[in-house]
């Protein structure tokens, strides 16, 4: 890694230099979601309208009279982010028809947390994906309702301790498995679905840029480490995102027109314990439970590989 960097030191030039999510936002120290939003905004560019659901990113970025956004941005409720984004897209279409808006390339983006996507905003998202509006939906998944004080959501992983699924003598924390949101989006037969992580910034930026070129709806699921809610050290935010990919807990893949592609495929998955032991929310887990999690993660990864191999055979 070091030698590679010395040969090619100017990797920063691959990242657009403009900032559209500026310094001075009130995100927690070491917030992985703020980093994800910053990189996504860089990739989206200046010609964008963002509809942002209630959640961490809305609260930290828009404290009156300040805004951390350098692009047009509208705050929506939890449940109607996708509906507002589809309204913006339709509104722009009508204005263009009437000749009152000439810019053809304005991107419409919707941003929401995992609660606003998986639980509360699910039906609006499903409707918008089904209607085929041309917009990019980005879910920032920090695996609980962090904004209101770490309550469980349906994307909270098995065994995690949160304030509404506390670990103790009679419970090991969250008892259900993480809802597979990308698969739900894939089931709508939309042109582009991808998972990304700010720990792999170039992959994230490429995926956002690709999503904006699609002729229909596209869905991105972005893994956002939350040091506050996960009870981890703030400097480990990038490391944890990387470990989640290496252990197979959050595989990076994209589905373009129904064809699967795994973007980062480790030859052998790391033990999930490497990832779990760095976080306070998993501290109480016994070795047996960790084995159970590992088994499930491995079988999910094999299932994903099987889907990719099926697609490879279809192409041949």
């Amino acid at each position: 890694m070091e030698q590679k960097l010395q040969k090619q030191p100017k990797i920063f030039s691959k990242v657009p230099p403009e900032e559209y999510f500026v310094s001075g936002h009130r995100g927690c120290v070491g917030c992985g979601e703020a980093l994800a939003v910053r990189l996504v905004c860089k990739a989206l560019g200046p010609n964008v309208i963002i509809a942002n659901a209630t959640g961490c990113m809305e609260v930290v970025s828009s404290q009156l009279p300040n805004t951390a956004w350098g692009v047009p941005w509208i705050h929506t409720l939890f449940e109607n982010t996708a509906a507002v984004a589809s309204g913006i897209e339709c509104g722009l279409k009508v204005l263009r028809k009437k000749g009152r808006y000439s810019n053809e390339n304005t991107i419409v983006a919707a941003m929401a947390g995992d609660g606003g996507t998986a639980d509360i905003g699910m039906q609006a998202l499903s409707g918008a994906l089904e209607r085929g509006h041309r917009f990019v939906y980005i879910c920032f998944d920090n695996e609980a309702y962090m904004n209101t004080g770490i309550q469980r959501s349906s994307t909270t992983p098995f065994g995690a301790s949160t304030t509404t699924s506390p670990a103790g003598k009679k419970s090991i924390g969250q008892l259900t498995w993480k809802k597979d949101l990308p698969s739900i989006a894939i089931a709508h037969n939309i042109p582009y679905v991808a998972t990304a992580s700010p720990s792999y910034p170039f992959d994230l930026i490429n995926k956002v840029k690709k999503a904006t070129t699609m002729k229909g709806p596209s869905y991105l699921h972005v893994f956002s480490v939350c040091p506050t809610g996960w009870r981890s050290a703030p400097e480990l935010a990038i490391e944890l995102g990387r470990l989640a990919v290496k252990t197979g807990i959050f595989p990076l893949y994209e589905v373009e027109n129904g064809v699967y592609k795994i973007n980062h495929e480790p030859s052998k998955l790391d033990p999930v314990k490497d990832y779990l032991k760095l976080q306070g929310r998993f501290r109480h887990l016994s070795d047996d439970t960790i084995k159970e999690i590992e088994k499930r993660v491995n079988s999910n990864f094999i299932e994903l590989k099987r889907k990719m191999m099926c697609d490879d055979m279809r192409v041949v």
Binding site: S23, H25, L64, N66, A237
Partner: protein, 98 residues
């Protein structure tokens, strides 16, 4: 520039509380949050810019000699840059009263 929170009154707000000045959160200096600050060793630094890419605050800027330096007015002292630096050129030192 929008008024600070102390001097703001109801009459200063736009209809619907719309904020019309992009990116004016810059006037809120988050640098006072930090307990440690990153210091770059310029002999070890190879100017790769990974710290700039990974900074959640977006407060690291390149100077005219090509070094990436943190703006202490906004840096919250998370230590991601020090942890991710492949050359180990950044160290976190304690903030002390001056």
């Amino acid at each position: 520039m929008a008024k600070s929170e102390d001097s703001l009154t109801l009459k200063d707000l736009n209809l619907g509380c719309v904020v019309t000045e992009p990116g004016n959160a810059r006037q809120y200096k988050t640098g006072s949050w930090k307990s440690k600050r990153p210091v770059t060793d310029r002999e070890k630094c190879n100017k790769c810019g990974l710290c700039y890419i990974y900074c959640p605050e977006g407060c690291i800027r390149v100077n005219n000699k090509g070094y990436f330096l943190s703006n202490y007015e906004y840096c919250k002292g998370c230590g991601i840059c020090a942890h991710e630096c492949p050359q180990e050129a950044i160290t976190m030192i304690e903030e002390e009263e001056e």
